[in-house]
């Protein structure tokens, strides 16, 4: 399941359907639900993300950043994964809260 990313502009509040934002926009402590990945991702990489647990409907929490800012540790389902920007820009989530 893939979608185009439409992150809200700063300050903008959307009152319609929940918005899918890239995983990389989550701040430490934010919780979200994965909705899919961007179209541009190669099929093999998408499959591998799925095998790692990045599947639609899986809860994800941004746990912490590495000391130099990269990579970032996320809890995806029951697995803790370290991901770099290149991948987290391509994963779409709906923010659920802190």
């Amino acid at each position: 399941m893939t979608q185009q990313a439409t992150a809200p502009a700063p300050g903008e509040v959307r009152l319609d359907a929940p918005v899918a934002a890239p995983l990389s926009t989550l701040r430490t402590g934010d919780r979200a639900v994965i909705t899919g990945v961007v179209d541009a991702l190669p099929a093999a990489v998408r499959r591998r993300l799925h095998d790692l647990g990045v599947a639609a409907g899986t809860p994800v929490t941004c746990l912490r950043r590495a000391p130099f800012g990269s990579p970032v540790v996320y809890r995806v389902g029951e697995t803790d994964l370290c991901l770099r920007r290149a991948l987290t820009d391509a994963v779409l989530v709906t923010v659920a809260g802190r």
């Binding site: 093999a44 590495a66 697995t79 994964l81 370290c82």
Partner: protein, 640 residues
């Protein structure tokens, strides 16, 4: 008998059935494998690539089943050529390697939902299969639960709970594997082609098996708050790396000293016992000395692999890779390469061997090619000799001793060069096919002694069997080059030091040295230094002894004074001292960059499964050494 006497990669049809272990990394697969096979295992490369698999006879049941441990993977859909090879193996598409008869899927119960993806792909292969459910104690400890029998009904294959580090369930697993023919293949294979259907299937299996997901691993989270904290985390990491590294030097070094002394004594004893002088020298120096020269690597290999197994088994290695990732990303590698690079500062041989833990072939090769530039401990005697001759003792620069500063500079030069080399390699010849980076942080677990023992045994065994013989052969050849033709008549009346200097001066190695002299002449090396470089091919520290022999030094271990008096025989600089300041600078820089240790080449060949990469390493490092030495010399001459 086949599995234990022959390399599995070379074996044609295997008599006895083959059961393959498939599972995610961190699922406890190697622990299960070790329990199933005991000590008699063989590690082999798949043909043509650096991917390894380990195989061993199923222990304890007297059966002829061979258990093969395939590389851990999150899914069978290949993202890299490495993974393609494993998939080909599973499908029986590899020539000479039949597909496994049955599969044991090692599944971590704490990540069951995610793991079902791999389970589905494996079951879709249509082979008889069994699920070994691991970490169930951890699952229940964290508030989760699973009903193995219900899971078995949902998956349509047998499911056994196995607690690896306590050995629970292993006997049942062994018995089940021995009777693999009784396993079922699922009547309806899971729907692997459509992601949505696969997710639905997985959800139904999870629901049917009474699975309750575990809560977060509290202890792990608390430890990570310290170990991954920007300040305390980096501090602990630095301390662990220093300790890791120091242990190798302070614990391994004395043992290495005993080995060297022991073999030297053995060699002397043998030499005394044999009347024929050249035979005595062959047996003593070449064979016994050569064997000692191979065994001297063992303490570092054993220690390094034991420490690595502890770090990996506990889960800390993933944290270390996380902390170093940003820095290593500058070189095009990822955090996992850091430990291999650091290990190479002790010795490149175990450092290169440790790259086998990296999942990407391209990263493995880039790390292997850059690792020999790391300042290894064998360079230290050479640095000490030359810095001692070059820099007056006691001279200072500000508050710092100049000799120490120069040594530090040499180390920094080597380290930075290794990282630059990796960066260049990953951006040029080894570009492309880069796996997107991802790293799982497993919960902290107690590493099992068995897994550590296995890692050490496997590394040491492979080193001795596959590499030791070649290294020994080469050192015998080098000894022959430096000892023949023996000249008993001419040396009859000379003292020992003079006699050995004379033989070396007129040996085949000297002939080689004189032949290549024009190549090194711009660097200021005369043929005798070149002979020393030939000797250094056996091991860098041999350079000191060879130079000592050439200079007819009374004490070959400290030839500084004698070397200072070496002069050019002929040519434009006849009569001038050989080891002038600029020449010594050039020689130091040459040693920083040159790939001289044959053991490194042999290990590279073994780990990369081809002669191509050692050849590339030798080529680029030799060229780099010559150019950098020439630059250093030119700068030194300009400054003096």
């Amino acid at each position: 008998m086949t599995a234990t006497c022959h390399d599995v990669a070379d074996a044609g049809p295997v008599d006895g059935d083959v059961v393959a272990l498939v599972g995610c990394p961190n699922a406890g697969k190697s622990s299960v494998f070790n329990h199933l096979t005991g000590l008699r295992v063989r590690t082999a490369n798949y043909p043509g690539v650096t991917v390894t698999r380990t195989a061993g006879r199923l222990s304890g049941t007297g059966s002829t089943v061979t258990v093969t441990d395939l590389p851990g993977t999150y899914g069978l859909e290949p993202v890299s050529p490495d993974e393609q090879i494993v998939l080909d193996h599973l499908h029986g598409r590899l020539p000479g390697t039949p597909a496994p008869d049955a599969l044991v899927l090692v599944v971590d119960a704490t990540t069951l939902r995610r793991s079902l993806s791999l389970v589905a792909e494996a079951l879709a292969l249509g082979r008889p299969a069994l699920v070994a459910l691991t970490m169930t104690d951890e699952l229940r400890g964290r508030g989760g639960d699973v009903d193995a029998a219900a899971l078995a009904r949902a998956l349509d294959v047998p499911v056994l709970e196995v607690v690896g580090h306590r050995g629970h369930g292993v006997d049942a697993l062994r018995a089940a594997i021995a009777s693999w023919r009784s396993w079922d293949t699922p009547v309806v294979p899971p729907p692997v082609d459509d992601e949505a259907q696969l997710d639905a299937w997985a959800a139904s299996v999870v629901a049917a098996s009474g699975y309750r997901a575990p809560g977060p691993a509290g202890v792990t989270a608390r430890i990570d708050r310290v170990l991954l904290h920007p300040v305390s985390g980096v501090a602990v990491f630095a301390a662990v790396m220093v300790a890791f590294f120091q242990t190798i030097f302070t614990v391994a070094a004395p043992v290495q000293g005993w080995i060297e002394a022991g073999f030297a004594a053995l060699a002397a004893g043998a030499a005394d016992a044999i009347p024929v002088p050249w035979l005595a020298d062959l047996v003593g120096t070449a064979v016994i000395g050569g064997v000692g020269g191979v065994l001297v690597f063992l303490p570092q290999i054993v220690l390094l692999f034991a420490l690595l197994a502890l770090l990996e088994g506990s889960g800390y290695l993933a944290r270390a890779a996380l902390l170093m990732d940003k820095v290593m990303a500058l070189t095009g590698l990822d955090g996992r390469a850091f430990v291999s690079m650091l290990s190479s500062v002790a010795c490149a041989v175990p450092g290169i061997m440790s790259t086998r833990t990296m999942p990407s072939s391209r990263d493995r090769i880039a790390t292997m090619l850059a690792a020999p530039l790391m300042p290894c401990s064998a360079r230290l005697p050479v640095y000490l000799l030359l810095v001692g001759m070059l820099v007056p003792a006691g001279s200072t620069w500000g508050p710092f001793g100049l000799q120490g500063l120069v040594m530090l500079g040499l180390y920094v030069l080597g380290g930075v060069s290794a990282l630059v080399a990796a960066a260049v390699l990953t951006r040029t010849t080894l570009r492309g096919d880069a796996l997107p980076f991802y790293l799982e942080l497993p919960p902290y677990r107690m590493p099992s002694a068995g897994t550590v023992a296995h890692a050490v045994g496997s590394a040491a065994g492979t080193f001795l069997r596959k590499m030791g013989t070649v290294i020994l052969g080469v050192s015998v050849v080098l000894w022959a080059l430096m000892s023949f033709p023996a000249r008993p008549a001419e040396t009859a009346g000379m003292s020992d030091a003079e006699a050995s200097a004379y033989v070396l001066d007129h040996s085949w190695a000297a002939g080689i040295g004189r032949t290549v002299e024009p190549v090194f002449e711009p660097l200021g090396f005369d043929w005798r230094v070149d002979v020393g470089l030939v000797g250094a091919l056996a091991a860098r520290e041999v350079f000191v002894a060879t130079m000592g022999q050439l200079a007819a030094a009374e004490d070959p271990a400290d030839p500084g004074a004698a070397l200072a008096h070496l002069t050019w025989d002929d040519g434009p600089r006849a009569g001038e001292p050989v080891l002038t300041g600029p020449t010594m600078v050039a020689l130091l820089v040459f040693f920083v960059y040159a790939l001289q240790c044959v053991a490194t080449l042999v290990v590279m060949r073994r780990e990369s499964n081809s002669w191509r990469w050692p050849a590339v390493a030798l080529g680029y490092m030799s060229a780099l050494a010559w150019v950098m030495a020439w630059l250093a010399r030119t700068v030194a001459e300009a400054l003096t």
